[in-house]
């Protein structure tokens, strides 16, 4: 049928009698092709972001929606709660140590593997495997490892390294760092993969040239290789950064935010506030704050890459 009829030709006349060039089928087709995804994203991503932001400005509490406009009251209350203040501090602490841990371990492993020693492929895979596991599984396993009665503490005791024993997840002073260890274990393999790809992408000639100019191996790395890894590092920071800001599943399984508020995170707080406490408006406010935090990280990166592309 479609082949028998002529392609639809749209001719629009603007006031003033000037006619537009008729749109060709080739011009319409791409628009039709991307329209479904544009519409879906517009509704399900941006529409819902808008809806959430709107909900955060209402008085909705309980199972029946209440769209009375209350301005920024929910935000005001939210920032006054001890729990959310703790969330912010915890997120920053966790993100900083998580990023540092992943980048240092990832880079270290990548440099070692890049030496192309025998068996490096094997290690490359071993380091990558944790990435294939979900945070739920990682969290469960590490919760057992950190259990004071049969985990690491027992191992240290048997090795006569009792001074290494710790309260791990049971003490408010160590819980967040224990959580960070589990997260780093999971994601540093990903960092390694990215750095390894970056290292392999740097032509050997550049290092050769540095060596010819009399640079030591360390200097060649420090002044030639390292600066060239900058874009990779930035990508890794962005990807890991938004994972760590939105972290939920690992905390849910390992500590549920405890002891006290010591490992509570905005994502978990949002879930509990919304679905346990039925404070839908306040939950939406947490979601909005979370979005702004991630935007703070992502937007400069997008601007930076976009500028890079237009300059090219």
């Amino acid at each position: 049928m479609a082949t028998a009829t002529a392609p639809p030709v749209v001719v629009e006349r603007l006031p003033g009698g000037r006619s537009l060039t008729p749109l060709s089928w080739d011009g319409v087709m791409p628009i039709l092709m991307i329209a479904p995804s544009v519409i879906l994203i517009a509704v399900f991503v941006y529409g819902f972001i808008g809806r959430t932001a709107f909900t955060s400005l209402t008085a909705w509490r309980g199972v029946v929606p209440d769209y009375t406009f209350v301005g920024l009251r929910n935000y005001e209350r939210l920032f006054q709660t001890e729990k959310f203040q703790a969330d912010i501090v915890n997120t920053i602490h966790f993100t900083a140590f998580f990023l540092a841990g992943c980048l240092i371990l990832g880079l270290g492993a990548a440099v070692l593997l890049d030496q192309k020693l025998r068996g490096s492929i094997l290690f490359q895979n071993i380091f990558m495997f944790p990435l294939a596991i979900s945070f739920i599984v990682t969290g469960t396993v590490w919760r057992w490892i950190f259990n004071p009665n049969y985990g690491l503490n027992v191992l240290f005791h048997n090795l006569h390294l009792d001074f290494l024993q710790s309260g791990w997840l049971t003490s408010p002073n160590t819980a967040l760092n224990s959580l960070t260890i589990a997260a780093v274990w999971q994601m540093s393999g990903f960092c390694m993969a990215m750095f390894l790809a970056g290292l392999r992408g740097i032509p050997e000639e550049l290092r050769e040239a540095a060596r010819v100019d009399g640079a030591s191996e360390f200097q060649a790395f420090r002044y030639v290789v390292f600066p060239l890894l900058r874009p990779i590092t930035l990508s890794a920071v962005i990807i890991l950064g938004h994972i760590s800001l939105k972290i939920f599943d690992l905390v849910f399984v390992m500590t549920f935010g405890g002891p006290g508020y010591s490992t509570d995170m905005p994502g978990l707080n949002m879930f509990i506030t919304t679905f346990r406490q039925d404070l839908f408006a306040r939950g939406a406010a947490i979601a909005t704050v979370l979005l702004l935090m991630v935007a703070l990280l992502i937007v400069p990166y997008l601007v930076w890459t976009l500028r890079g592309e237009t300059e090219r």
């Binding site: 509704v43 029946v64 259990n147 004071p148 309260g167 997840l169 049971t170 549920f256 405890g258 006290g260």
Partner: protein, 435 residues
Amino acid sequence: MGNERWSRRQFVSRAGKTVGGVVLGLSFADFLAACGASNAPAAGGGKLEIFSWWTAGGEADGLAEMFKIYKKNYAGVEIVNATVAGGAGTNAKAVLKTRMEGGKPPDSFQVHAGQELISTWVKAGKMEPITDVWKSENWDKTIPKDLKDIVSSNGDVWSVPVNVHRGNALWYNKKLLDDNSITPPTTMDEFLSALGKLKSKVPAPLALGSQGNWQVQMLLENNILAAGGPDFYKQVFSGKASFTDANVKQALAWIKSMLSYVNSDHPTLGWDDADKRLINGTSAFNIMGDWAKGYFTAANWVPNKDFGAAPSPGTTGKYVIVCDTFGLPKGAPNRANAINWIKVCGSQEGQAAFNPKKGSIPARTDVPASIFDPIAQQFIAEFKTDALVPSSAHGSATPDAFASGVNDEMGQFVINKDVNKTASNLQKLSDEFLK
């Protein structure tokens, strides 16, 4: 309507509503609602959909017993057992909320008596009163008034209690107590001195599993009951008395004293891990609801031989109730069947079949005690004469928003042990959510 197949037009309109629900939806919750709606059975005739979180063990067995009775009395009705697994019903409650908001209620659903029923569902106008059923079944004669009050508001009754769990129970390892010639304590002073006596004998005399903090919240409510009595308890949990009162501070101070006798790994332990310490003999006492009994008996511990139970210290003559009920949502697809279900839930036969399996005691006072284990018999006798108060930790005395906030606050208290600060923070929650 009935069982006829959907016409194309109906299908399109329903599908449209479902999609519309998603598009206009407010959150992921609505998406769940839409999914729930499409799974819901078609309205009409011989069906009855019962929604609960009784998915495993004795709870599921008890529910199956009640289904048997229903099928015997109302042959030809197909029962749809809509259960959602997950600790203490938190997942089920989320699914239920989305179904109710999506206008697809089950025929009847499990709900804790008290605020979880009244402030969540009745105030939202989602329930139908069952006052007439209550009258025609003459439940005033067999179900205590204190219990009726908890499921009533504005002169109407909104659901029927099936069972009663006890929140204020003290469990002990009988051998450890006998060996150290300690009699089960009844007052807080006796309890604390017993703990002191045991401190050098067992690693941690009092077992605590505080993962999720609600166990500490139970200590709080039990201790408030011990310090202030039932009237003060009811006032403070309805916002009429202040949490900065001396009684609450006394309750907190007692928790603080107890905390010096507990196992240090408690933040990572659940309530069952704590009870395991009693079985292992590494702790002598645990304060927990009577579902702990099921854990002990599953480990082949014999009631009153290996372990014993008493009201939590200072609460003799008082009973903290955690009570499951079934109500009638507005727009239940099979209303007549649902009303028959509610009658089964409130019947002597139904409660006698359900409760021994569930490990709770019946809400009715005329179920023969002889079919229960000795500890349940002891609790049944006390239930008849004790002052009954609803549990706040389990959503009966206070709305979820408050209970959840207290939960967090108790998590903080375990760390900072600051009585005055915690009391004033609790009062802030009371100001926000109980007024």
